[in-house]
Symmetry: C2
Subunit: 334 residues, 2 copies
């Protein structure tokens, strides 16, 4: 900057004024400065700016597993909306969600150049580490039950599940089997809980749960077990990938979808409309989740801490071709 000032024959303050587009610089001077900037390839030093302003214009995102379906879309939405507000985002992935690693991420985040943090992570781990969250850092949590301590943005898991299970009940199924996500996952537990509650409300029997790990392969294994049960005519999988595995298992076991068994997924990932058959599933609005996260966090940064509480993003059931009215109890056409 001093070099630019010297070359342009002005003071560094004038250079600063030009760099920030402030008024009060006569046109000829401004052009001289701009020319000098170009010649020297001047770029403002954001570290010095941050130091001066006490703000970084950066949001940190701590997450476990970027590749997992929804996360990348949420992060993308966060990044897009943050960019629109002049904020960059810094990613801290936690590869294995041990407490130590999460704690380490917090520590690193604490030393990092961020004005606030968005946490996309299994909240079970959050409990023990809550103490170590740097006090001055603003936080928004995604998909968790930390609603009593932090502002939370979450998909309305319960309502989405209810829509899915109700849809199957309304089609005449006598009960709905559930392929759940891992017990350690908060979202999985919410979906399993809502599935059970919806069945109980309807006065229907609650079959034993099948546990998967979100992967298509685990869905396939669960699907093979369910396919062996002739009374099983409706399956609600906790995500689309496991539903894909279920579809394959049913196909391999000679049970037709939706003629013999109806299947519903959760997420509405891009491919689910191309499954065999196209999957009926609960649509999650990841982009909206990201949008609300950014807004909540920026509100905190600008206006001070926000009250804890949960902001639920609604879901919609997308009906495709994997669900149908129930037919006679396992009566082959032939």
């Amino acid at each position: 900057m001093a070099d630019v000032a010297r070359l342009a024959g002005v003071s560094s303050q004038t250079v600063s004024r030009v760099a920030n587009g402030q008024t009060g610089v006569v046109e000829s001077t401004r052009e001289q400065v701009l020319a000098a900037m170009r010649e020297l390839g001047y770029r403002p030093n954001s570290a010095a700016r941050s130091l001066r302003y006490g703000r970084f214009n950066t949001i940190g995102v701590i997450l476990f597993g970027l590749s997992s379906t929804g996360n990348s879309r949420t992060v993308e939405a966060i990044a897009t909306h943050a960019a629109a507000e002049g904020y960059a985002i810094t990613l801290i992935p936690v590869d294995v969600p041990t407490q130590d690693n999460v704690l380490g991420a917090f520590t690193r985040m604490g030393e990092l150049a961020v004005d606030g943090v968005i946490l996309i992570i299994e909240v079970h781990l959050l409990d023990a580490t809550a103490v170590s969250l740097p006090p001055g850092v603003h936080v928004v949590v995604v998909d968790s039950d930390a609603g009593d301590r932090y502002p939370v943005v979450d998909t309305d898991q319960a309502d989405g599940t209810r829509q899915a299970v109700r849809h199957l009940i309304d089609l005449g199924h006598r009960t709905v089997h559930h392929v759940a996500g891992p017990a350690a996952s908060f979202a999985a537990e919410r979906r399993a809980g809502a599935w059970r509650a919806t069945l109980e409300e309807a006065g229907l029997p609650v079959p034993e749960i099948e546990r998967g790990d979100w992967s298509a392969d685990s869905g396939h294994r669960a699907g093979l077990r369910l396919a062996a049960d002739p009374s099983c005519t409706a399956i609600f999988a906790a995500n689309d990938q496991m539903a894909l595995g279920v579809l394959r298992a049913l196909h391999e076991s000679g049970r037709r979808v939706p003629a013999d068994v109806s299947v519903v997924g959760f997420d509405d990932i891009a491919d689910s409309s191309a499954y065999l058959p196209p999957l009926t599933t609960v649509h999650q609005d990841f982009a909206e989740v990201g949008r609300r996260c950014v807004r909540l966090l920026l509100d905190q940064i600008h206006d001070g801490p926000a009250a804890p509480g949960t902001d639920l993003v609604p879901t919609t059931l997308t009906i495709r071709q994997s669900t149908d009215r129930v037919r006679g109890p396992a009566t082959p056409d032939a």
Copy 2:
């Protein structure tokens, strides 16, 4: 820091020494300082550190579309390896890849607190904007043909394609149809080119190309057209999602896979082993791509600019159940 020094009754320099774990501080003093740090909740200001050191310990990643299959895994690998070296990563997503937007991302990146940039983007856009890349910033490009100007890390698209097409030829297919990605995509063009070259080398006819846009739906449309051609017995799709669409189209058209038609994909995404049938596909090592990116960039940051050139990450063909020996020309079993 000054507060900590006051509370501990030492100078700020001593606090700095303790904060950085330097030697030459007697144990009793160190503990006093640490106690003061805890009491005041002291966290070092990274902006000031960056200013002092002239480095940010941050890598910028510019990309178009985080949700696209491979990108999120590449980014995850980049983030993980960068973290291992003490670098954070800052994400700049470009939602619509117009030149203006890319240019804007560069400008923002230029003002951003990054020591280097990894570009994951269609290179066609890079051409025009190359001029505006800030000269002092180190760059590594992923999946592009900028090998004459920047260091590039790329999956070995050509070899992967050759393996896929050869596999089908070796199974006795008389030719291989291709469902390509969008013409604007560099990776799509590389795969299409290698597909054509491999067929020509083998002296086989080159059928007309089917264009998709990477989505399963576009693969479905292309698949319906190919299914109508009874001479088509082998299809190479430029990615797994389009292959999924092709599988559905073939199923709907009553053509069995792999009995009537063999299908090969590209990417080996997590779900492809759960397709109907499990998909034979070219495995891409996204994690390795990310790893090499980080290494190349850090080498530049530490040792000065690297020579342009392309670093190819090998691929392997994963054979599953969607490919089989060719049977008689469209002779139904019945």
